[in-house]
């Protein structure tokens, strides 16, 4: 087998041939190292790359009986169908609305939280705050949504407490306009503490001398925060923001599926939950794959643009 490979590469020139040969000896000498990577690559090929290739059914009229290869091509039919359907406007706006609200409120929350915790200088209280605020992260999504549904029912504890301030005693998750606030606030409850860890670890790395110098110059706490802490946090914030924007169209649909119901569908249905319903509940394989692919492409474009913009203006980048 090696002979065969050598004769073939030799035709393309000595250097290439000897390089391939060199590579091959390197691999042969450390066989076990390369055996190790085989199952890993197999995993990625089977469970990540084959589905990527399988996304081709969005250009076909796929039916399991005919199989992937024999199903007929239909071009962009499914995409057109989606863009023309009333669901396009609905799911697209809902995705953007819920996602932007999550970024607007959910993204700064852990940063502010980290800044406040950071001001508690090494006290026991600081430890308690951290320990307790990380806890909701470990509550499973199903239980969290169960809690949300119970608490926001017309006789639930949150509705009752808000009732003191004149809030109507209605089941919140039956009100289309309340779906997004409930979704965003429960998300902040679950992740604010956990999300602050990454910023806290960046804060630990700031040189304390900077603060001392600022104090000598008479800078107060707020000045120190604006002129020292925030600039030092900026690279972390930007990286997190790029990642967040790249996932803009990936609204946590698992949570939406758990929380929504017919009454709030008009404001709660997002692209990915629509893909789930169309594909897995109604078995419109090709159509829903097309919708999912559309969603994935927007994400890719967003991620690349966010990265390019920050690379140009802030000199911070993901790659």
């Amino acid at each position: 087998m090696t002979m065969d490979m050598n004769t073939r590469t030799e035709k393309r020139g000595i250097s290439l041939g000897s390089r391939a040969k060199h590579t091959w000896t390197l691999i042969k000498n450390e066989k076990s190292l390369y055996i190790m990577i085989i199952p890993v690559l197999l995993y990625y090929i089977i469970f990540c790359y084959i589905p990527m290739g399988g996304a081709i059914i969005s250009f076909k009229h796929f039916s399991p009986a005919q199989g992937l290869w024999n199903s007929p091509w239909v071009g962009f039919q499914w995409f057109e169908e989606f863009f023309r359907s009333p669901y396009f406007a609905r799911t697209f706006t809902n995705t953007l609305r819920i996602s932007l609200a999550t970024i607007l409120f959910g993204f700064p929350a852990p940063i502010l939280f980290a800044l406040l915790i950071n001001e508690l200088h090494g006290t026991k209280f600081k430890r308690i705050v951290q320990t307790l605020s990380y806890m909701p992260h470990f509550v499973s999504l199903v239980v969290t949504c169960g809690m949300v549904i119970e608490f926001t029912r017309y006789n639930g504890v949150i509705t009752q407490v808000l009732g003191i301030f004149g809030f109507p005693q209605k089941t919140m998750l039956q009100e289309p306009n309340l779906f997004m606030p409930v979704y965003v606030i429960s998300g902040i409850w679950q992740e604010v503490g956990w999300g602050s860890i990454i910023y806290l670890s960046a804060l630990v790395g700031i040189d304390q001398q900077l603060y001392e110098a600022a104090r000598i110059d008479g800078a107060g706490r707020i000045r120190q925060t604006i002129n020292i802490t925030l600039p030092c946090l900026l690279p972390t914030i930007i990286i997190m923001l790029i990642l967040r924007i790249g996932g803009l169209m990936n609204v946590g649909f698992e949570k939406i599926i758990l929380l929504y119901n017919d009454a709030v569908m008009s404001k709660a249905d997002v692209i990915s939950s629509y893909v789930y319903r169309k594909g897995l509940l109604e078995a419109n394989w090709s159509y829903s794959t097309a919708v999912g692919l559309f969603n994935g492409l927007i994400n890719c474009i967003l991620l690349i643009s966010a990265n390019t913009i920050t690379r140009k203006f802030a000199d911070t980048k993901l790659w």
């Binding site: 390197l26 450390e30 076990s32 190292l33 390369y34 190790m36 199952p39 890993v40 690559l41 995993y43 990625y44 469970f47 990540c48 790359y49 084959i50 589905p51 990527m52 290739g53 996304a55 059914i57 939280f113 915790i117 001001e119 209280f125 308690i128 307790l132 605020s133 806890m135 470990f138 509550v139 499973s140 999504l141 199903v142 239980v143 169960g146 809690m147 549904i149 119970e150 608490f151 504890v157 009752q160 604010v192 990454i198 670890s201 960046a202 107060g220 706490r221 990286i239 790249g246 698992e254 758990l258 893909v275 594909g279 394989w285 829903s288 794959t289 999912g292 692919l293 994935g296 890719c300």
Partner: protein, 293 residues
């Protein structure tokens, strides 16, 4: 550090503490409330308005009802199987990948890294994934919850970062003594990065424990339901009827309320009780990831 606070700073500290205390209350109280309701008498809970400080009455009745439900036991059993087998597989494959990527001068390393990282940004989507798992014959088996989650790319990168911190000379001397790569990995690299390995085990474990979506699309046989799917039936789909057979409708409604809270406690508190002991490891893991970022 001999910090002396000015008057303004003292006022700031005071407000900061007050604000964080209020925030902490909002974060922690829902969990406390669940615990309190789970011990309450259904009747009194129905009549109660607003927040709770102690259980209304004290009874284990709703816990008894929950534990009599065979599905909870089945769910726990399946989840434990998934966590143990899943984490074992996760750890094996993740350490293989991380080891390969952390070697200096391995051939094709860059290409392999790209293949792996690319999957973080683009995927084929839900439907092709679903059809693939069906095609592989994993449908309605516990393997459908284990194999497709065999590697978490982020965890792989964290582990690689940790492996790269180990001085290479240690491995070279082991190699001189005739140790192969598998031996170096298990005997030298893994023990030396034990804190990170612990973090990764915990991350994977929690992930398997909390996962429910793959189960809802792949598992139809009720005997294979993981815990989260059982919870979903009780908490979201609102199916407590099987547990509260007998009695009139109003009774059932009342009992089912407290049953839900006991179910949440039974499903969540094992992890929450374990968690304060594990906390420092979790946090360390995020920090390692952050250093990389």
């Amino acid at each position: 550090m001999g910090l002396e606070y000015t008057k303004n700073e003292k006022i700031f500290n005071y407000f900061n503490k007050a604000f964080l205390t209020a925030l902490l209350f909002v974060i922690a109280y829902p969990l406390y409330y669940i615990l309190m309701v789970s011990f309450s008498e259904p009747m009194r809970h129905m009549a109660h308005q607003g927040i709770l400080w102690n259980p209304l009455g004290f009874t284990f009745d709703s816990y008894k009802t929950v534990l009599q439900n065979s599905m909870i036991g089945i769910g726990y059993r399946n989840t434990i199987v998934i966590v143990i087998v899943g984490v074992a597989l996760n750890l094996t494959l993740t350490s293989f990948g991380a080891y390969f990527l952390s070697r200096p001068r391995a051939v094709f390393q860059k290409q392999v890294m790209w293949i792996i990282v690319f999957t973080m940004f683009f995927s084929g989507g839900l439907i092709p994934f679903y059809l693939l798992v069906r095609e592989l014959g994993l449908y309605d088996t516990l393997w459908s919850l284990i194999l497709p989650n065999a590697i978490g790319t982020f965890n792989l990168i964290i582990m690689r970062t940790a492996f790269m911190c180990i001085p290479y000379s240690l491995e070279e001397s082991a190699k001189m003594d005739g140790a192969g790569h598998f031996t170096i990995l298990w005997r030298i690299v893994m023990p030396l990065s034990l804190p990170t390995v612990a973090v990764i085990i915990l991350y994977y474990g929690v992930h398997h424990w909390n996962a429910w979506f793959n189960a809802i699309i792949f598992i139809k046989n009720r005997n294979l339901y993981p815990l989260q799917l059982v919870l979903r039936e009780i908490l979201i789909v609102n199916d407590t009827a099987s547990m509260t057979s007998g009695g009139n409708a109003a009774d059932t409604q009342m009992v089912s309320e407290t049953i839900k809270y006991s179910t949440m406690v039974i499903a969540t508190f094992p992890i929450l009780c374990l968690y304060p002991f594990l906390q420092k490891y979790f946090v360390k893991g995020i920090m390692i990831g952050a250093v990389k970022g």
